[in-house]
Structures are given as structure tokens and as C-alpha cells.
């Protein structure tokens, strides 16, 4: 069902005042414009004769006369409607409040996609220069021989520009006559290139990607909070329904060197969700979260839905999010998968 919700950013009284003033202005402008051009005729009787015969169409003429005014008022009404910030999707009472916990612990630095270093050895010295050259032009991959080296795009244009600049500087230093300087630059370049190539396959990048895909699934009135989980839990912003803003917050997350403190992150999420409707916690990470800890996420009487997405694909998560009802939670993978299977087998919302 198509549902529409209004989220006025300012008090509706103020909005009504603004609408009234704009409407009045339009009417006044219209009346001012209505002052017609005067034209002197020698003999108005002739015009009377002509116009008498036109009386029958006068209704339409009057209508057409105010058509422009009606159009203006319509435009103002549409503007006001836009200010009311209408959202397609769930009604506000169905809107979910989601805390997305992104695991940024040391384990997330691992590059899963390249577990076998023999198959995918680090780039050789002569390759480093070519990779660096590709990097300095702003491209994100280069194929040398049979192997394709990839590194992810830095989220902000600024960062990307910095990387390009750094690559250019390293290249320049490597070409320097000073041998010491060239050697140092070569070493630095090796580190940079390895880090860049590895970062493309790291778990944190995958988690961020998943979080972004999940954000795309959000309904219009749904609100989310991004929580970075490492040794401490850091909220990246406030509850918001602005997907673009949330995605930027996600992009800012980098993996740290501390272990994940799930307990702390969950209590922070629970604190944030307290008193909010349809609470939900989604954990994006590399798994291995003890279910007894996950079960701790609760307050007075209610419990948020907790979804650990570690080993679920985005499609699966989407399916769960659609079907699960309030009060349900999935402590671990097995439980989530089982619930999903049950949902598929039985009618929806019956778990």
C-alpha cells in the first residue's frame, strides 16, 4: 500500500502563516497586474454590440482570467507541500529506529578476499612503480600481466586528491638523483601500495559496503544511527533519515587496532533506542559475537530486534527485516537462518 507521511521541519503554525503570506502576495500581485492597458476607442457602442453577442462565453472568459492566479496558488501549495517533507513508505508509527553497529576492531583490517598469499603475492618491486603511476592518475585498478590490482576509491574527493598527490610525490622522489631519498621513497611506496591493494579486500570495506546497501533499504520515515564499535563505541552522528548523510558517516569509519567491545556497543545502542518506536539493532561485522551477549540488549519490558548480519547476504538481511516483527531478535546466525527458514515455510509474521 502506498502510504504518505509528512515530516514538517518547522511548526505547522509557522508554515501556515508562510503559506498565507505567500498566497496573499500572489493575489495582490495578480490584482496589481489586472490593471489593464487602456485603449481609447471613438465609439464604444460598436464594442457593446460585439460584446453583447459574446455574453454566452463570458463564464469561460472569467475562468480563464483567474486561471493564472489559480496556477500561482497551486505552485505555492505545491511548494508548501514540499516543505512538509512528504515521504513515501511506512507511516511514522511503523517507522523503524535502527542502530547500525559497524565493527571496526583490529580483526576487520584483515583482507579476506586474498587469504592465500601464494596465489596473490604482494606486488613486486617493478610492479609497484606501475601501480603507483596508475594511482597518481586517479584510477582504481591496474592490470599487470595476468593479475589485476585493485584499491578502493577513497570516499571523499579530498582524500582521493590526497592519495593522488602522495603517489605523484613518491614517484617524483623515486626518480630523484639522491639514492638515499630514492630508496626511502621506494620503501614508502611499497607500504602504501600494499596497504591500498589490501584495503580493497579488507573486511571493514566489505562491512561498510554492506552497511551502505542496508541503508538503501531504509524506508522513507525510518531513522538510523551509525555506531562504530571497537574498544569503545563511537556514534558517528545522530538519528537521521537522511541517507546521504548516513552513508557519509559510514564512509568515514576506519578500522582501529583495538578489539571489539560488543557489550559496550550494545548498551550504547540500547540507550540510544530507549523510548523509540520499533527499535532495531543491526550489527555489521565479521561475526563471532556471543549470543548471550546479544541477548543482553533489552530494557525494562521491551527488546529491540537484533540482527547480526555477519554471515547473511544483503538480500537475506532485507528479507529478514521485511518479515520480522517487533519483539523478535536473532542472537546468532543459526537462530537468524532458522527464523528465516521458518518465515519462508509458514506465513509471514508468524514467528
Amino acid at each position: 500500500m502506498l502510504a504518505l507521511s509528512l515530516n514538517p521541519p518547522i511548526a505547522s503554525g509557522t508554515l501556515a502563516t508562510i503559506a498565507g503570506v505567500l498566497g496573499a502576495l500572489a493575489v495582490v500581485a495578480y490584482i496589481l497586474k489586472m490593471r489593464r492597458r487602456r485603449f481609447e476607442v471613438p465609439f464604444s457602442s460598436l464594442w457593446h454590440r460585439v460584446l453583447k453577442e459574446k455574453e454566452s462565453t463570458s463564464l469561460w472568459r472569467h475562468l480563464r482570467r483567474i486561471l493564472s492566479l489559480l496556477l500561482q496558488l497551486l505552485i505555492i501549495a505545491l511548494l508548501m507541500f514540499a516543505v512538509l517533507n512528504p515521504k513515501l513508505g511506512s507511516q511514522p508509527k511503523d517507522a523503524k529506529n535502527v542502530v547500525i553497529i559497524i565493527d571496526a576492531s583490529a580483526s576487520m583490517k584483515t583482507a579476506d578476499a586474498t587469504p592465500d598469499e601464494k596465489k596473490n603475492p604482494p606486488p613486486k618491486t617493478h610492479e609497484i612503480k606501475r601501480i603507483l603511476q596508475a594511482m597518481s592518475t586517479g584510477s582504481r585498478s591496474v592490470t599487470i600481466g595476468k593479475r589485476k590490482y585493485e584499491w578502493p576509491r577513497k570516499e571523499y574527493a579530498e582524500d582521493e586528491a590526497k592519495r593522488v598527490k602522495a603517489a605523484q610525490k613518491l614517484l617524483a622522489d623515486m626518480a630523484s638523483d639522491n639514492k638515499d631519498k630514492a630508496r626511502q621513497a621506494m620503501m614508502a611506496a611499497r607500504t602504501v601500495v600494499q596497504a591500498a591493494v589490501n584495503s580493497g579486500n579488507s573486511r571493514i570495506e566489505a562491512a561498510k559496503q554492506k552497511a551502505i546497501e542496508l541503508l538503501d533499504e531504509m524506508g522513507g520515515a525510518d531513522k538510523a544511527l551509525i555506531l562504530k564499535m571497537d574498544g569503545q563505541s563511537t556514534p558517528m552522528g545522530r538519528f537521521s533519515d537522511d541517507k546521504l548523510k548516513l552513508k557519509k558517516q559510514v564512509a568515514r569509519i576506519t578500522a582501529s587496532d583495538t578489539p571489539a567491545d560488543l557489550h559496550r556497543a550494545l548498551s550504547a545502542a540500547v540507550d540510544a533506542l530507549r523510548e523509540r518506536d520499533n527499535p532495531m539493532i543491526v550489527i555489521v561485522g565479521d561475526g563471532a559475537y556471543p549470543s548471550e551477549v546479544l541477548r543482553l540488549a533489552s530494557w525494562d519490558k521491551s527488546k529491540p530486534i537484533v540482527v547480526d548480519t555477519s554471515e547473511l547476504t544483503v538480500a537475506e538481511v532485507r528479507s529478514i527485516l521485511k518479515k520480522i516483527t517487533r519483539g523478535q531478535y536473532f542472537g546468532d546466525q543459526a537462530e537468524a537462518k532458522a527464523a528465516l527458514a521458518a518465515l519462508d515455510a509458514k506465513k509471514p509474521n508468524a514467528v
Binding site: R36, F39, E40, V41, P42, F43, S44, V50, R64
Partner: protein, 306 residues
């Protein structure tokens, strides 16, 4: 309720250059042409049915007691022994009254209809003067606006110019009132040339009939501006009647314009039909036609001088 006055004066009523040398030359030319057209006529006379003290012999009639002895034809008495009177055709000047409409509506157009009417009036007046007729100029709008008394002889044309230059423009058109007043003021019958746009909401019939019924010979000259017949208007307008100040709001459409043109044509047609049915000479012209062309056309068709 005071009707609001129209804001804009449409054109400047500057008459200083109206009767210049060029104009005089044209008048002289028209005069020469008129002599050609009416050649064979004895100058300066209209033969009237009235028989009296003229030069030219007309007829004889029986003498009755009381007749003037001086007109008895004694030669005839000697021959046939009967008293008969010699009758002569009485020669009489024709009176030409040129009535020029100078109401506000004549102040429209380029050139002003009023200027055009004055030029045509002066030209016809000149032809009349040159034929030794008596020419009077009478401007009118809602009332007669003074009058230039009948004058005779070519030399008086400058008086006509002077008079026309000082005629005041303004007021509504009231043909019936003006022409009725005119026939009451002028006992000498004659040709009454009415030069007007005939934009009288009360109609023209009463006015022209006033002339006819009092034995004047009406001569109708309708002047209009090309833009009155084909107005180039568009959009939302407030039409102001330049005479009454009456306002009328219209939204001009192509169809409305077509309708207006049709109505204008009908209005002019009514006047034309009325005149034709009563064998009144009728000419209709817009101000784009040079006045001398119009006068030549009048000569050709006849009606002004007989």
C-alpha cells in the same frame, strides 16, 4: 458619477501646417478640374425653378391686373394684340453649408480625422467659392460651435482657413440636435455637406432627416480611420470611449476582432443604405486616402455641383 477622463491624448491637434502652400496648390488644381468637369455651364449661377428678375428669358405668361408693366412685352402686343409678360429665370447663388464634426472622436487617428475633415471641407468650400457660391462653415459636436457666415469669392478661402484653425475640438456627437438647430438657424436652403464619422450612439437618421424635411440637400461624407475598422489590439484591455469616458473591459481574441470588424462594416453599411435609399450623395473614406483624391472622386460621381 463622473466618468474618468481618458489618460492619453492620442495625437497632437496641431493645425498650423494644415492649410499650407501645398494645400493651396492642390485646391487650385481641383478648381481647374472642376471647371473642366462642369464646362458648358454659365458661371456663377444656379438656375432655379423660380422665375423672376434675371437676364435670361424663360417664358411668357398672361398679364393679370397688378403685374408690373415693365415686364410687358410690347413688341408682342404690337404683333398679336395681347398683353403678355416676359418671364426671366431668376439667378440665385447656391448656399453651401459645410458642417464639420469636431467632436472628441474626430481627434483619433493619424492624421486626425478632424484634420482630414477640415481639409476636405476647405477644398469643397474653395470649389464653391470659386464658383461664386456662398459657402458657410459650421462646426458641431454636441452643439453648433459657432459659424462662419456665408461668404462668396475665392479670396474668402483664407477666412475659412483662419476659421477652421481656431475651431475647438471636443464634446460628444449629437447629430440630431445639431442639425435640427442648424435648419432652424439657416432659412436659406442649400447644400448641406455633413463631414463626420457619424459615431453617434443615438444614430444618424434623425439628423439627416432634419435636413431632408427642411428642404436642404444633404451631402454625407463619412470619415473614418483605418485602425477603427481594423484595430490592431490584443490582450486584456480597458476600452475607454473617448467621448463619454465610458469604460469597458475586454479580452481581445481573434474572433472578437473579426466580430468587431463585421459590426463596423454593418454600421457603415446602415448609413450607406439609408443615404442610397433616399438618393442622398454618400461618400465614405478613410484618412489614408489623400483628400484631393476624395474630392476628385466626388466630382466624378457627382452630387456636389450640379
Amino acid at each position: 458619477m463622473a466618468a474618468p477622463q481618458p489618460k492619453t491624448k492620442p495625437a497632437v491637434d496641431d493645425r498650423s501646417d494644415l492649410f499650407n502652400e501645398e494645400f493651396l496648390k492642390k485646391l487650385e488644381y481641383l478648381h481647374v478640374v472642376s471647371r473642366k468637369v462642369f464646362s458648358g455651364r454659365i458661371r456663377a449661377e444656379r438656375k432655379t425653378k423660380k422665375v423672376g428678375s434675371g437676364i435670361e428669358f424663360a417664358d411668357h405668361r398672361k398679364y393679370y391686373a397688378g403685374d408690373d408693366f415693365r415686364y410687358i412685352d410690347w413688341n408682342l402686343y404690337g404683333r398679336i394684340d395681347k398683353l403678355l409678360l416676359r418671364l426671366f429665370e431668376e439667378e440665385e447663388d447656391l448656399y453651401i453649408y459645410i458642417l464639420v464634426d469636431c467632436s472628441q472622436s474626430m481627434g483619433i487617428g493619424n492624421p486626425l480625422k478632424l484634420h482630414y475633415a477640415m481639409q476636405v471641407g476647405a477644398a469643397l468650400g474653395y470649389i464653391g467659392l470659386a464658383n461664386l457660391d456662398r459657402v458657410a462653415i459650421i462646426p458641431f459636436s454636441d452643439d453648433l460651435k459657432g459659424r462662419m457666415p456665408p461668404a462668396r469669392g475665392k479670396g474668402r478661402i483664407f477666412k475659412i482657413f483662419e476659421f477652421l484653425r481656431n475651431v475647438e475640438m471636443g464634446g460628444e456627437t449629437d447629430l440630431a440636435a445639431c442639425l435640427t438647430k442648424f435648419v432652424h438657424q439657416n432659412k436659406r436652403r442649400g447644400l448641406a455637406v455633413v463631414i463626420s464619422d457619424f459615431y453617434d450612439p443615438r444614430g444618424f437618421i434623425d439628423g439627416i432627416n432634419a435636413l431632408r424635411f427642411n428642404k436642404f440637400e444633404p451631402f454625407v461624407l463619412q470619415v473614418y480611420d483605418e485602425k477603427e475598422a481594423n484595430p490592431a489590439l490584443h490582450g486584456d484591455l480597458t476600452l475607454v470611449d473617448c467621448e463619454t469616458g465610458e469604460l469597458k473591459e475586454v479580452t481581445i481574441t481573434k474572433r472578437l476582432l473579426e466580430e468587431y470588424k463585421k459590426q463596423h462594416e454593418i454600421w457603415c453599411g446602415e448609413l450607406s443604405e439609408f443615404c442610397t435609399a433616399r438618393s442622398i450623395p454618400y461618400f465614405r473614406t478613410h484618412t489614408g486616402i489623400p483628400f484631393d483624391d476624395l474630392v476628385l472622386r466626388i466630382f466624378r460621381i457627382g452630387g456636389f455641383l450640379r
